[in-house]
């Protein structure tokens, strides 16, 4: 049983970096040879190559919802993310669910059986900065604990 913990985020794009920072924290805590902890700033279809071959994948990412508050944490399955965009005017438009669906068609035996997403609601991503807003920063230890608790179970 191989597990990947994958933090997604751009550490120079304000709150967007939250997933990246959570993965960095988790890498210090998790010392299990069956669990890989990685961070990445990539998007779209490139994620596919990272998750292929694992039995279980825990993704930590930033999200912007219409009504949610900054720093709120959601535990999601890929099916909660929304149908894949049918409109694909650029490579940015291939979202996580599209990527997973595509993988299941192309490499049905190699795709993880379980994908869990922890999403942190973010606030500010319009300017390049390494600073995150306070509530988002405060969510980091919370998510670290949630992921670690999930591993023990």
């Amino acid at each position: 049983m191989r597990t990947l913990v994958l933090g997604i985020g751009n550490p120079i794009l304000g709150d967007d970096g939250v997933g990246f920072h959570i993965a960095q924290e988790l890498a210090k805590e998790i010392k299990d040879e069956n669990i890989d902890v990685k961070d990445t700033s990539i998007g779209g279809l490139n994620l596919l190559e990272l998750i292929v071959g694992y039995n279980k994948v825990i993704i930590i990412d930033a999200i912007m919802t219409q009504d949610g508050e900054a720093g709120e944490v959601y535990r999601l399955g890929p099916e909660d993310i929304g149908e894949p965009a049918q409109s694909t005017i650029s490579a940015h438009h291939l979202n996580l669910l599209t990527t997973i669906k595509l993988g299941k068609k192309l490499f049905p035996k190699k795709m993880p059986g379980e994908v869990i997403v922890f999403a942190v609601n973010i606030q500010e991503v319009t300017e390049f900065t390494e600073e995150m807003t306070r509530k988002v920063r405060e969510a980091i230890p919370k998510v670290v604990n949630l992921v670690l608790e999930g591993m023990v179970q």
Binding site: N10, E49, T65, T88, N95, V125, T126, T129
Partner: protein
């Protein structure tokens, strides 16, 4: 605690993929605009950092095209150091660059563009996407995946990580290519070249069968810009700038890339964060030009590999006066480049120097200014840095491919809107066609990393009095 929610389709960043169309009082299109969000403050973010860091920082501008920023940044660093690369370092840079072309063009064609061609532009959007291709034409989808994986594997071999590489440094490369990895490339490359030729044939057939549609769809005259080598061939990594006008007349030639500011200026519009570069001598907006596959092939005299050159000649015969104008031919040009890149990978891998360990030269010199220019898959990319005597960044100027094509993409949307909205009547299919037009240019709409959730294209049509008439969403 966590709570379970269902996420409605969201637009992650305001303005993402937003089109506005303004009608006149007769109900015809007066103006159409594509609004592109750009994350602000990159220049300020870089100030005070050492130029050595830039090839690691700049790939994070974009989660889709990081290798291009990485290489342009390393080239600007070379210029600051005032060094000339070792032959192996330059070949390795070219190798990773061509690998990026193969993977980027394959992704665009097979995953984004091919459903329009294979199912037809008016097919049901529920089928007209990559999942539809996998369901109905799995062999084609698999070729796409295979070509892309080949490019990714080379990037990984040289760059340590697959997508945000740290392969290049000012003065050369970090890591040599192992003989094993070289052999892996050589074992697979002929097969990949054949698949690239297959893709070219696919799009060529489409262009022949639908020539009228291609010629009449989002077709307009502009200038073209791209790099060429000393023989006038399409050049991706180095070379000099050439600019042609809409009649195929060369207006600028042999312009050293460091002199780009002598031919290009940027205009600002209050409705867009993304600037509008234009050809200085013709002014704004008459100095509209296009970059990327169509731009590169239009300014060049040929390709430097046999299979791609054969296709290049065929491509050129589609245009009049030496330039090919229709937006749809971007796809054809893109696949010729993919073939060219695959052939170039083979030649590079066959060179006996490719595995040499002489990959870096140092220098104690620090020039005040460094300019790195490459042809990214989407078009010409400029990185221009000014540094102080210790090598700390004082100022940064970047011009990205989507910026160069900003005027042209707006024009393409306008042309489509004009065709589909007449005398107050909006014809069905406008949304599809606007998407198809924008997709030709393979834009980088927002350099945000990724997106959980949907990013629909939204078209808002305004009456002449400013009231909203209709909002269309994909």
């Amino acid at each position: 605690m966590t709570k379970k929610i269902i996420i409605e389709p969201i637009t992650r960043i305001e303005g993402h993929g937003k089109v506005t169309i303004h009608l006149d009082d007769k109900g015809n299109v007066n103006q159409a605009r594509l609004h592109i969000t750009q994350v602000r403050g990159f220049e300020k973010f870089c100030e005070g950092r050492l130029f050595w860091e830039m090839p690691v920082i700049t790939p994070r501008i974009c989660g889709i095209c990081p290798v291009s920023h990485h290489l342009a940044s390393a080239k600007a660093g070379d210029a600051i150091l005032g060094v000339e690369l070792t032959p192996t370092a330059e070949m390795l840079r070219r190798l990773i660059h061509m690998a990026q072309f193969v993977q980027s063009h394959a992704l665009h064609f097979f995953h984004l563009a091919s459903p329009d061609f294979l199912f037809g532009m008016d097919a049901d959007p529920a089928k007209r996407n990559i999942m539809g291709i996998i369901a109905e034409m799995p062999e084609i989808a698999k070729k796409g995946v295979k070509i892309r994986a080949f490019g990714q594997k080379i990037i990984a071999a040289l760059g340590n990580t697959r997508v945000h590489p740290n392969a290049a440094v000012p003065g050369g490369m970090n890591k040599a290519l192992s003989i094993d990895k070289r052999d892996e490339i050589l074992n697979q490359v002929d097969d990949i070249i054949a698949d690239c030729q297959f893709a070219v044939d696919l799009i060529k057939d489409y262009c022949i069968q639908h020539s009228e549609e291609a010629i009449n769809f989002a077709s307009f005259r502009t200038g073209y810009l791209g790099l060429v080598d000393t023989d006038g061939n399409v050049e991706y990594y180095d070379g000099t700038l050439r600019l042609k006008d809409s009649r195929g007349i060369t207006l600028e030639d042999n312009v050293a890339s460091k002199d780009y500011l002598s031919i290009i200026e940027e205009a600002v519009e209050d409705w867009s964060y993304l600037k509008f570069p234009y050809y200085k001598r013709l002014g704004y907006p008459a100095g509209i030009y296009r970059v990327g596959p169509l731009g590169r092939l239009n300014v060049a005299d040929g390709c430097d590999t046999p299979l791609a050159n054969k296709e290049f000649q065929n491509f050129k015969s589609l245009g009049s006066e030496g330039v090919v104008q229709p937006s749809l031919y971007y796809h054809y040009a893109r696949l010729i480049e993919m073939l060219n890149a695959a052939e170039k990978i083979k030649l590079l891998a066959q060179d006996e120097l490719i595995c040499s360990k002489e990959i870096w030269v140092n220098s104690s010199k620090i020039n005040e200014e460094g300019i790195g220019v490459i042809e990214a898959p989407r078009g010409t990319l400029f990185h221009h840095y000014w540094v102080d005597t210790s090598g700390k960044i004082r100022k940064v100027n970047l011009i990205v491919a989507t910026g160069h094509n900003n005027l042209a993409m707006n024009r393409a949307v306008y042309e489509v809107a004009r065709e589909f909205i007449k005398d107050g009547k909006v014809t069905e299919g406008i949304l599809n066609r606007v998407e198809v037009a924008i997709r030709c240019y393979d834009p980088c709409l927002s350099c945000s990393t990724h997106a959980l959730g949907q990013m629909p294209l939204e078209i808002t049509i305004y009456e002449s009095d400013g009231s909203i008439r209709q909002v269309l969403r994909s």
